[in-house]
Amino acid sequence: MELSELTPILLQGAWITLKILCLSLPVAGALAFIAGLTRLFAPTPLRQIARVYIEFFRGTSALIQLYWIYFVLPFFGLNLDAMTASVIALGLNIGAYGAEVVRGAVLAVPKGQYEAAVALNFTPWSRLWRIILPQSLINMIPPFGNLAIELMKATSLVSLITIGDLTYKAKTLADATLQVGEIFGLVLLIYFVMAQVMAYLFRLLEARLGRGMDRGGLRS
């Protein structure tokens, strides 16, 4: 097959990869904030649950988590289709890493900011919402960018539970045509371009959110 015939088929796969990415990114982001903030501010039993979640999903492989959710949950009477299982597994996995990013960024806000908010009689909720989170958000962007790229790369795992993503398309095409060199080379290139675009978008976001911020200017 010509390269001009291979490319559209691979781009179809890339579209599915992108779809999984767009579905699991918000799941991961939400879990990161929920688990990260729970670990910092919630009552002790909830804190422990968040901690177990974080340690468990960071301590085992994404692929095992994916297999577990796809193959084992039916034993609990919970049948998930491959797509749902993928989004849940990837979201849970990257969310656990993201939770530590959130925790680190919140802890990095200078203590004086908490004290000032307390002194001004802010409620705990508005302390968090109006003082702490806006400041910590800018610190989260670069590590979140890295995690988003990690998530993009991890989507390749879903090919192993027979979702027709980019990697799956590459594998089946390579099996059928035996043009392994061109196909896998092209696929690596597509992933590379996606990663570069994402890195660029996150740099843009960081510049945008960082505008007008006098970072650490008052602390010196």
Binding site: E55, G59, T60, S61, A62, L63, I64, W68, F71, V72
Partner: protein, 225 residues
């Protein structure tokens, strides 16, 4: 109501096989991390080369390897190398893929570690007429080491956790073994859960090990200030 029917007999039946497979997993990690450290060190030194003709390509190679999925790289090595007349066993492919992938990550760790050593140390060593090689080996790297150890440890643990991807090229590591045991018996609950728990246990042990190694190095590096 969710009912968990955990089969203990089946558990004891599959556990020895999984522990056997754990040896393959650990071997792949060990060889992979040795290779990754070598690759990482070589790439980081090349990246520091004063010649743009060397440092610029190395930068993009590292960037490329880091931003593409390990699974595709594994497939690439396993299926494309035979085209060049080199057929690799799953184990060799796995070690090469892990070594190259994490070598690229480690090169950045090593580079920043080396950059973190004070410039004066380098100048002093050169003033004492040490060769470039000796300066790196005896002066710069030992000081950079402390800064590099925690991150290197993290990446080796990360590598260990990515070894299940080698099951995709039929390496009989833990996950592949669990998959076979599961499909033979139509029960995935116990084998997959056990593999997850084994990974968790090994990761925790490895993290404690890295922490111990870190503690053996004095806080302020080796400088006498």
């Amino acid at each position: 109501m969710i009912e968990l029917d955990w089969d203990w007999d089946f558990t004891w039946e599959v556990l020895p096989d999984l522990l056997n497979a754990a040896q393959i997993t650990l071997l792949a990690t060990l060889l992979g991390s040795l290779l990754a450290i070598g690759v990482g060190l070589a790439l980081s030194l090349l990246r520091r080369s004063p010649s743009r003709w060397i440092s610029w390509p190395v930068y993009w190679v590292v960037e490329f390897v880091r931003s593409t999925p390990l699974l595709v790289q594994i497939f690439f090595l396993y299926y494309v190398m035979p085209e060049f007349g080199v057929s690799l066993s799953p184990m060799t492919t796995g070690v090469l893929a892990l070594g190259a992938h994490y070598g690229a990550y480690l090169s950045e760790v090593f580079r920043s570690g080396i950059d973190g050593v004070e410039k004066g140390q380098w100048e002093a060593a050169r003033a004492l007429n040490l060769s470039q090689f000796m300066t790196y080996r005896d002066i710069v790297l030992p000081q950079a080491l402390r800064a590099m150890i925690p991150a290197t440890g993290n990446y080796i643990i990360a590598m260990f956790k990515e070894t299940p991807q080698l099951s995709a090229i039929t390496l009989l590591e833990m996950l592949q073994t669990a998959k076979i045991l599961g499909s033979e018996n139509f029960r995935y609950l116990e084998p997959f859960t056990l593999v997850g728990l084994l990974y968790l246990a090994f990761s925790i042990i490895a993290a404690l090990g890295v922490h111990q190694i870190e503690r053996r190095f004095p806080k302020e590096g080796f400088s006498l200030r």
